[in-house]
Symmetry: C2
Subunit: 155 residues, 2 copies
């Protein structure tokens, strides 16, 4: 499948809350216990299921292989195989030629808002809207797989 | 996807070698490092690729979710994400209404032949051909994920 090149930022919540936003989609995802070399994620996004393998991040990039799977399979895997997970509402915000993904975390990560932008290459320029805060691309604490184990409210 | 109900036997090689067999298919598979609760397998079978998650074995049964994935993805994952694996030639032998899968292992598992039969339920009867030897269904040493780490020739 290929390489995911992504940058990640905190969200200025004061500005974000005043924004008129499209409806978000409910995400529930969990992780198969694995070592650091590869993350195995099961995700339910709205009414769809996905199985995703990701390698280690190098710079802004990491290998990613994502497959849509039957919803019922994803549900069963989340119940049977994953012990930790995250829930969030994801909003898609189009700005120029890019689409920002803004995650409003729920449960033990409530209060955390993170925005991501996917790029075609590491040096691709992009517009930074007013509600974008500090960059946290290489801060491992904000990896979803880490938030599943060390949630924001316990920091 | 569901539950895999499978029984596993050693093969009587003297009888097996005299058998007229269909051509086998070359399998190369590796495992994403994970804990015991779930096995994540990447497999190349001939010219096809598969990603499979399996739960813990209970009796003769375990949860199994298998997805065909692009061949190139499977190759890349084997190279990038797996550190151990097994190679084997798999033969399909139809006997009555069942199909036996006989694996002739290669490399560090050379000399090992294992036959498996998949059943619809744990009590389903099946014919045992002359080349079937001792049952090893619940002997963890013969799990492919174990053979990848502790190969037969080192036992």
């Amino acid at each position: 499948m290929g390489v995911e090149i992504e940058r990640k930022f905190l969200v200025n919540q004061e500005i974000w809350q005043q924004l008129e936003k499209p409806n978000g989609v409910h995400y529930h995802q969990g992780y198969i216990p694995s070592d650091d070399s590869c993350t195995v994620r099961v995700r339910i996004a709205g009414e769809r299921g996905y199985l995703t393998l990701k390698g280690k991040t190098k710079g802004f990039s990491r290998k990613e292989f994502e497959y849509e799977i039957p919803f019922a399979d994803a549900q069963e895997m989340l119940n049977e195989f994953t012990r930790t997970g995250t829930e969030k509402i994801r909003y898609h915000i189009a700005i120029g030629t890019h689409v920002w993904e803004v995650d409003e975390f729920l449960g033990p990560n409530k209060g955390l808002f993170v925005a991501e932008i996917e790029l075609r290459d590491e040096s691709e320029p992009f517009a930074i809207p007013a509600w974008i805060g500090e960059e946290v691309t290489n801060d491992r604490r904000y990896a979803n797989s880490n938030l599943a184990v060390h949630p924001f409210l316990e920091w």
